[in-house]
Symmetry: C2
Subunit: 302 residues, 2 copies
Amino acid sequence: MSDDIRVRLADTAADVEDSLAALLPQPKVKGERLAEARLIEAMRYACEGGKRLRAFLVLETAAVFGVARDRAMRVACAIECIHAYSLIHDDLPCMDDDDLRRGRPTTHRQFDEATAVLAGDALQTHAFTLLADEATHENAFVRIALIAAIAKACGAAGMVGGQMIDIEAESAGEALSLPEITRLQRMKTGALIEVSCQAGAILGQADTAHMRMVEGYGRDFGLVFQIVDDLLDIEGDAATVGKAVGKDTEAGKATFVQMLGIDNARDRAERLTEQAIAHIRPLAGRGDVLAALARHALTRKN
Amino acid sequence: MSDDIRVRLADTAADVEDSLAALLPQPKVKGERLAEARLIEAMRYACEGGKRLRAFLVLETAAVFGVARDRAMRVACAIECIHAYSLIHDDLPCMDDDDLRRGRPTTHRQFDEATAVLAGDALQTHAFTLLADEATHENAFVRIALIAAIAKACGAAGMVGGQMIDIEAESAGEALSLPEITRLQRMKTGALIEVSCQAGAILGQADTAHMRMVEGYGRDFGLVFQIVDDLLDIEGDAATVGKAVGKDTEAGKATFVQMLGIDNARDRAERLTEQAIAHIRPLAGRGDVLAALARHALTRKN
């Protein structure tokens, strides 16, 4: 199954790449370059590449509930826009000050800081534009539910709040407790991963019991993903990972690996993977791809 | 009427201040300071003060169509969140590098750059959270229409695109043509002002003819507002205006005043004011406040 899931991830990544290229604004209209073309080029640049894990979660969770792939793809792309915006802003000199992302110069290195800030801003907006459009779902309540869930996951109580806590912990140089690190990671990376799973269930108008299953899966999976990310920061090499490694360790960032040590962190990731899979056991065969993804995430090298 | 409108603006500003304080996240929950409190404090700081012109337009346009004020207030606050986010990011060192805003230190001066970037990001998200909530309108189609219109106005085809063009024009040192400046200003500040008027009509489920009236008013009013802003940059004093003056002129920014000269720019603003008022003439008495506002905007000192 591990090879199968690799192929499936790669196929999905290619599909998402194509869909994003079609769903993002174009720098030219009728052959004429727009005055704001530079902004649009930076938005498109920042959305290129990446593993498309969040998109994959949307698409595969939606598939569990029988949602047509082309419809789920719009939501998958909206979440990838949010993810790309967060990476642009996280990489800025005033934040993590990174030069490399997805194996290429970060957006502010390729363009400039002002353009990078604006491209992130416009990508966030674009996500909501995509979600609000009736092509996403004919039922306005479904679109509203998607917008509400995704906004909650990426705002002050989710992704952006988590980034703030991370920055503060680093600059204060104070060690966080395990519950504090868990909350931070759940907000910073977990919330968007969890809502990617929720989104599939919202699109499929799943009942509460099924919603809870994929939320539980997404919550545990998000933590596994983060722990493996931290392990790769220590054990991976930059060429494979596609971004600078060792920086988090050097910066004394609050990570599970820092707190628990490598072996315990790996143990914890293994236990959380089993827990994630247990959440979706009632789905039986319909949950196979999600289960395979969780196992794959544990052994990924980038 | 000019005194009346001043009182009405001041009353609205006070109401909006109170409503925003209630509708923004709180840094403490049950007396306990959240780990991400700094982010929330920066969001709240950036939303304090201001003329609340956009909120006023939402509330007064909504009133034209008989919408209850408390309902329109949520939308007014959402648009003020968008406006505040755009000011935080525009003031950053990599953009306009401003130290003063609304008579106080800019958000990145009061906090720091990273916090300012994140506070802007989270305020944009918060606007969509407010709009998606059913307290805004019981009809999901109305909420979706608000989200779609506001996202369009503040994204790459609107506010953020306009800011990109402005930065590029400045750094290239090339003079823009009058149509280019008009497009820039319509996007950069006009789009959010226009959508503030639209929002009131959407909330009131206005028919197309009435929608066009307030859109036309908003479009012309937005340009007047910008021309007066440019004039204040030259003729105003910093203490009254509440931000640095003369900077745009010094930086050679593409403005109507630069292009037309002071007298012609003022003439143009006067003509556009009459045109704005003409759009809403069919509203008769119901349009009195909007008409008074347009006349007031022409003579404002801050």
